[in-house]
């Protein structure tokens, strides 16, 4: 016992020494807490419940023992869908924005009003990688949406074919009454294993409406991504969140929604399709700190080949969050006996006047339906595709913007 702890600390300390510390904008007390958390908790090991099914320690030791950080790269061949875009990752200077959006990068003189939000939701005291991002990240971008956008903002994570390690941090503030849609996608051209540790803090002011769509797809299967996200919703804010996770070696999302004030509506939908040896782990937390709000979660998960697809959905209803209405459902399809699928709801309810429901179903494709389609001359693969599309159609359909829907559909391979 003693020995293993020491050994893994030795690894961690040597590992951390390879990361140049360039943190400038993180508030002092946040930084202290983050570093303390890193030291105390260490890299999540196999016994860590939150990382069940995600052998992150062995992944780091095996592929990222030696960290290489590339210098800033030129952006090339990025799939730009919208006129409004900001490129982050290892070339975050490229951007094109219309009025209504203000952007600050680490190189800028960032006003204090923004810095106050950094670490506000204490992700760095809940997750090792959030702490790592807080302690050692050198790329910070602040996006302040001050007016309703008439077209979506595209946030592109760009990584070129150099280095193997990058940490990106994003802070987004959506002003009162403002409506915006953000598409977040990943453009990785690297051929080697790459560790990408991101953290986003999103603040929604009163009566704002945000539709955030994160599309994770890395056809070269080189990315190991850990993505910590927290949304904070003030009075009457509306959040719609779509999490689409497709190809890649690892997609781990910790998505936290803080309902701070009443009359909030948070709707979370997800589609995960595990292929090859991918690991997709969705870890959501809806935290009802205030009552009279509504949260809805629907996640559809498909595991094929030797992939692992995990969903953990946590709902917390605080003591004074009366009249909360929280719903959670996950529907899972296992396509291959060699694949792993695991879905778990977790509820902690301290208020008495609430409506909470959750459910989870796991199965395979309906054999009778498959047979029926085949008796009409449809190939097994096509029949399977028709049934899978029928299975997740309601997740994609919900996205109003046709270009974004098309962007997603194009990338789904069944």
């Amino acid at each position: 016992m003693e020995l293993t702890t020491t050994q893994s600390n030795v690894f961690l300390n040597e590992w951390l020494q390879q990361i140049p510390t360039k943190v400038q904008h993180i508030p002092d007390e946040v930084l202290v807490d983050a570093l303390k958390y890193i030291e105390e908790q260490g890299i999540p090991d196999l016994k860590n419940e939150a990382y069940r099914g995600v052998p992150i320690e062995s992944i780091l030791k095996r592929y990222f023992k030696k960290i290489e950080i590339a210098s800033k790269n030129e952006v090339a061949n990025t799939q730009v869908v919208f006129k409004n875009f900001i490129v982050v990752g290892d070339a975050y200077s490229a951007l094109s924005i219309e009025k209504g959006i203000r952007v600050f990068t680490s190189a800028d003189n960032i006003p204090q009003e923004y810095l106050n939000w950094i670490g506000h939701f204490k992700l760095h005291q809940k997750d090792f990688f959030a702490a790592l991002n807080t302690g050692y990240c050198d790329k910070l971008i602040i996006i302040h949406i001050t007016e309703t956008l008439d077209q979506p903002l595209h946030l592109i994570h760009f990584i070129s074919n150099q280095g193997n390690f990058n940490q990106q941090r994003v802070l987004v503030i959506v002003d009162e009454q403002v409506k915006a849609t953000v598409l977040e996608s990943y453009h990785f051209t690297c051929q080697q294993s790459y560790f990408y540790n991101t953290l986003s803090e999103i603040i929604q002011k009163e009566h704002s409406q945000l539709h955030w769509i994160n599309v994770q797809n890395n056809p070269t299967n080189t990315i190991y991504s850990i993505n910590n996200v927290s949304f904070s919703l003030e009075k009457s804010a509306i959040l719609k969140h779509h999490q689409i996770s497709l190809k890649g070696s690892l997609w781990r999302n910790n998505i936290e929604v803080h309902i701070q004030q009443p009359d909030v509506n948070a709707e979370m939908k997800g589609l995960s399709i595990g292929k090859n040896q991918s690991i997709i782990s969705q870890y959501t937390s809806i935290l009802h700190h205030s009552g009279h709000s509504h949260s809805y979660q629907l996640y559809k998960n498909i595991a094929d080949d030797k992939s692992t697809v995990l969903f953990n959905g946590f709902i917390l209803v605080d003591k004074n969050a009366q009249k909360t209405d929280a719903y959670q459902n996950s529907k899972n399809i296992l396509l291959n006996d060699n694949a792993t699928l695991f879905a778990r709801p977790q509820l902690e309810i301290y208020a008495d006047d609430v409506r909470c429901s959750h459910g989870s179903t796991t199965g395979s494709l309906n054999e009778d339906a498959l047979f029926y389609l085949k008796t009409r001359g449809i190939e097994e693969k096509d029949a399977q595709r028709l049934l899978l599309q029928a299975f997740f159609n309601d997740i994609i359909e919900e996205i109003d913007n046709a270009d974004i829907r098309e962007f997603i559909i194009q990338q789904i391979e069944l």
Binding site: A369, F371, Y372, T375, R376, G377, E380, L386, F391
Partner: protein, 253 residues
Amino acid sequence: MTPLLSIKNLHVTVDGNEILKGIDLEINKGEIHAIMGPNGSGKSTLSYVLAGKDGYEVTEGEIIFNGKNLLELSPEDRAREGIFLAFQYPVEIPGVNNIQFLRTALNSIRQYKGLEPIDASEFLKLVKEKQKLLDLPANLINRSLNDGFSGGEKKKNEIFQLSILNPLLAILDETDSGLDIDALKVVANGVNHYHNKENAVLVITHYQRLLDYIVPDFVHILYKGKIIKSGDKSLALELEKSGYDAYKVETTN
């Protein structure tokens, strides 16, 4: 003339139970055959074996369809070779659009035959024509496949698919059950419209009534996994009067 379908000494086991115990049946192009038989005698089993459903193990015998060993083909290839099964219980498939599904089916059959995919407007014309023939409302055929369809609507939809896919052999498993009198006539009309000298129909039914509209050339009685008697359409009329008891005695003797 070689028969379109030739079944010889077919034995089929399901979950270790022998259900079909030596079936012989030949169907030529241009013919209509009817199979009648009590509940549980193996009629649907025969239709599933022809369509290629998993779990039906052929322990003896052979099936030759249009010169090919049917038992070696996958369900989709059987369909492409020209087998069509109208199910006794059509499956509901929410989320799969009826028309898109039919187009996918038609095109994959065409591709197998080396034909180009059907032109969109030509397909639409075909759909309209058959929809009228089967008296199906447009909103129904544009819904999800059989999803929430009434029993009768499902059966009509099967014959709608039959008329669009235009196979060589149509197997109708109790397509008449659950149909009202008008719907029965519409469905029979659809089948007769489809039927010609180049194809064949195998009707499975409990009721002579259907055979007034779809007139068979041959009627077979299936009993406990065997065809115990074959005859012309008058056999169905006899059966209606006497029930199966008279024939059971015949077999035991």
